[in-house]
């Protein structure tokens, strides 16, 4: 399973947008992809973008207003399901030419984009691209999609936190039931025992843990328990 542990630890230390840029740019190695892009639009329309694409491609893209014809943008704007570029319609002349230019600029011939819907209409798009063959890409997306979804949302949470300003930075707060669930696991109970002790079903327990994990920006349950412990959120 892909854990991205060192990336999440770096992300945890991020305090400024410059730090965040550096953390995002380092992701392409850890994710084994050619490029990464993170692009966010907040509720007031302010934009923030970080990418490993060649600067001349970014300039050309913006200068030619390619967002109008880019099938990825068209497919992800106001959406929320992850998109493999292979499912998009590249058959039109404008889209075909655009793709050809992108490939020449080193973007790669494969891509996967994750639209992110945050609070109060905030929207972001996280993309990875690659020069893999079709077979390799199918295997890659099967293995990495979950990690990509989580990593992209954690990047987005961090960007929102920085935008709010440090003096208002969110301290993670868990509801009592989320704390209970993580506490049981920290005490060494397995899921069945923890659910039993809390008089809830195992699926309910899983959802409480999943919800807590997102708030703690953790990749897996062990990581979530460790983070909650470090932040003094558990009574053990």
């Amino acid at each position: 399973m892909v854990t991205l542990e060192s990336f999440l630890n770096r992300l945890n230390q991020v305090g400024t947008l410059d730090d965040l840029d550096t953390a995002i740019l380092s992701l392409s190695d850890e994710l084994n992809v050619e490029h990464v892009v993170y692009h966010s639009v907040n509720s007031s329309g302010d934009q923030y973008a970080v990418t490993t694409y060649e600067p001349h491609w970014v300039d050309h893209y913006l200068g030619s207003d390619y967002a109008r014809i880019d099938p990825v943008v068209q497919a992800c704007l106001r959406r929320f399901h992850p998109v493999d570029w292979k499912r998009l319609d590249w058959s039109g002349k404008a889209a075909r030419n655009f793709m050809q230019e992108a490939v020449t600029a080193g973007v790669g011939n494969q891509g996967f984009s994750i639209p992110i819907r945050g609070p109060s209409g905030q929207f972001a798009l996280f993309t990875v691209s690659s020069k893999d063959t079709d077979d390799t890409w199918v295997k890659y997306t099967e293995e990495y999609t979950r990690a990509l979804i989580l990593a992209s949302h954690y990047v987005n949470q961090k960007a929102l936190e920085i935008e709010k300003g440090t003096d208002q930075a969110d301290i993670v707060t868990l509801s009592p039931r989320e704390t209970d669930a993580l506490t049981m696991l920290a005490l060494g109970y397995n899921r069945a025992q923890a659910a039993d002790s809390l008089s809830i079903s195992e699926h309910t327990l899983r959802v409480y843990i999943e919800s807590a994990r997102f708030k703690l920006a953790a990749m897996n349950t062990t990581h979530a328990v460790a983070r909650a412990m470090n932040q003094g959120l558990l009574r053990v």
Partner: protein
């Protein structure tokens, strides 16, 4: 036929759109007696319909609405987190791996296969999007309907009694439910994949063709 459609694309299917909002009025306002808003067109709509949700619709052979439901990601605003945390022991359920399903609705006369087909649609998009769970808020009388579709929810909590009872439930997104849902819906795996591809695009090898 199953269709997966975001709200901003509904205009392209005016008949299905009107059918869905009118059948929602019939189900939620008239039959279940919920306090919902029905506008002058006879459409039942709420503020979550304005957040560009993803709808899954069952289109009958004659093009009319057979049933539908509504999906939203729990990282944004959802009905359960805004209004029903009493049903989840105070936990705001938020995760990129959990989406919310609401407004499950059947047209009058729709058979049990339509319920199963709609939930099959939820499982298909859930599996393709690598989700862990679907969470939903529904009339407690729906628990029996859901149990019969082949993919019943774990009930997280119920508020109120009788006609007033509202429940929150949880569906684990797991491949193992797919064969049963396909069989109850009377749909083959290939056909279901085809419908998914019609809405979201089929996997194509076109980059090589242009490169």
């Amino acid at each position: 036929m199953l269709r997966y459609i975001y709200a901003d694309e509904l205009e392209t299917l005016p008949r299905l759109k009107a059918g869905m909002f009118k059948d929602r009025a019939a189900q939620f306002s008239q039959r279940l007696g919920w306090e919902v808003t029905v506008d002058e067109d006879g459409f039942e709509r709420d503020s979550y319909d304005d957040l560009n949700p993803l709808y899954i619709l069952w289109e009958r052979p004659d093009g009319t609405h057979g049933g539908s439901l509504r999906l939203l990601p729990t990282t944004g605003d959802t009905m359960i987190n805004d209004h029903f945390t009493e049903l989840t022991e105070g936990v705001k359920i938020q995760s990129p791996l959990i989406w919310e399903c609401t407004r499950f609705c059947l047209a009058r006369g729709a058979g049990a296969n339509v319920s199963s087909a709609l939930m099959l649609g939820v499982l298909e998009i859930g599996l393709k999007s690598h989700l862990d769970h679907i969470v939903g808020v529904f009339d407690a009388r729906m628990i029996r309907v859901y149990a019969r579709v082949g993919w019943g929810p774990t009930v997280l909590g119920t508020l109120g009694t009788g006609r007033e009872a509202i429940s929150a439930g949880l569906w684990p997104v797991e491949q193992s439910y797919r064969p049963r849902l396909l069989s109850k819906a009377g749909i083959s795996s290939e056909v279901s994949n085809h419908w998914y591809g019609r809405s979201f695009g089929a996997i194509k090898e076109q980059f090589e063709a242009v490169a």
